[in-house]
Amino acid sequence: MNLPQVVQYCFAGVTVGSIYAIVAIGFNIIYNTTGIINFAQGEFLIVGAMLAISFNHFVPLPVAIFLAVVITTIIGGLVEIVFIRQVRNASVLRLVVITIGISILMREAMLHIWDEKVRSLPYFTGTGVSTVTILGAHISPQVLWVLGVSAVIVMGLTPFFRFTLTGRAMRACADDRMAARLCGINDRWMVTLSFMLSAGIGALAGCVISPVTQTQYDMGASLAIKGFTVAILGGLGNSMAAVAAGLMLGLVEAFVMSQFDVAYKEAVSIVILLLILVFRPSGLFGKREIAAMRAL
């Protein structure tokens, strides 16, 4: 491989990797406030993209994306209020199974609304063939959009959790639910909010990635598996580590694809997931680091 090729694969890897990271962050936000893994996280991305594609027939792209994110955020909140909140004596396992049910429900609903056709949003700038040349490699400008938006999401979440009252209250719920309630924090509302936030950033990620990967009603499941691998890899609940883990998985996948058959790409994340679960269940980044990073 020559330099431009390496750069090319790096960009490809970092691009999908950053989307995996966003999915993983979605997992983590909900995991932190509830202790459950929301397997409908992948569907939020697809719903967001599909809504934006439909709206884009009537309104300009930025407006379409904005509406899609808002509506998906509301859907996320409704999912929690309708399905999660109602469960009495909920064990974590039971709730996780319910989220799997929700993901199937959402997928079927999308099949009815948008059928099986592969769709996509238009490129945000330029067209499918326009490129930016970086170190000799030809990169689609959309890749830069994906990277930029992912970075903004990640960098926006840190001050949100650190400095805003609501963000702190969500962290407090994650840290010690009873103490948070004793401070007068409405923990149920924080859980709803965590679903809304995860759905919202998921939808945004789904929109920016749509021109590159295209969008089909059933693509959420594989995104969820990748995101889950990344979340586990980084250590559940640790969003900064998820970013590192996401980029890592993306890069590994890209280079596996460059050296071997494309078919091996899917196997990579499963193998990594199994290895991690067997050898380092607390994630690549140990408990201490997690505590330190969560404090951020």
Partner: protein, 244 residues
């Protein structure tokens, strides 16, 4: 200030509180003492709204709070520093304290919060020194101070404390109790649960003795302290006599 009538509460099948009636007057410090598992923590949790009463009434400032949501109870000025401290260990000391004032921040009373923070720092100097340290890295006694400080940040009219001396070094217990005494002097109403009956009765005006979910004795701190039953069971006087 607080009036409880025939309160019953428990967990699932388990009936813990079997008809408790007690009251706390404004400005008073009241201690609840009793053996392990008597239901003291359960009582405080029920007042604070963490647990729902099965029956009975909890009146706070003439308002029935027995079925109010927790947020409303905190807002009304009834706040619990829970047993085992429960500080937010992954957050800094200052963040912990500010979260104590959560409902006031939502209502936009930031000037009051700054003055409360100053007041808490004055009471517990160590918290100011450690303001930017993670609460999980504080010692047990410091965490207890933080838990009390956090409860104070809500601007309570009634401060409930569940075993503030639990797992705290004797020297710190003394300083924590001095601070509580100062708060009382400034007019704060206090409901205190303690295993350390000696410390509790020294501070409180009145006390109740709990046994298996019922009140078996009540009286002024002096009366309770002089009661031979209390001395034997909770103040360990008998043992000393044996030693001698």
């Amino acid at each position: 200030m607080l009036k409880i009538l025939n309160l019953e509460a428990g967990y699932g099948q388990l009936r813990v509180l079997k008809g408790i009636s007690l009251h706390v007057l404004p400005g008073e410090a009241v201690a609840i003492i009793g053996a392990n598992g008597a239901g003291k923590t359960t009582l405080l949790k029920t007042i604070a709204g963490v647990l729902r009463p099965r029956s009975g009434k909890i009146m706070f400032n003439k308002q029935d709070i027995s079925n109010e949501p927790l947020e409303k109870i905190v807002e009304a000025g009834c706040c619990l520093a829970p047993e085992g401290r429960h500080v937010f260990s992954t957050m800094t000391v200052k963040e912990n304290l500010l979260l104590g004032a959560y409902h006031r921040q939502r209502n936009g009373a930031s000037a009051d919060i700054a003055s409360s923070l100053k007041q808490v720092y004055k009471l517990f100097g160590i918290l100011e020194e450690r303001a930017n340290q993670l609460a999980g890295t504080l010692s047990g006694g410091q965490q207890q101070m933080l838990a009390i400080g956090r409860a104070l940040m809500s601007g309570p009219k009634l401060l409930m404390m569940d075993e503030p001396s639990l797992g705290v070094a004797p020297l710190l217990v003394k300083s924590i109790y001095q601070t509580i005494a100062n708060l009382k002097r400034e007019g704060l109403t206090i409901l205190l649960v303690e295993q350390n009956a000696r410390a509790a009765l020294a501070l409180a005006d009145r006390g109740y003795v709990f046994e298996t979910g019922q009140i078996v004795l009540e009286g002024t701190s002096r009366e309770l302290g002089d009661n031979p039953e209390v001395q034997r069971a909770y103040l360990g006087k008998e043992y000393r006599r044996i030693d001698e």
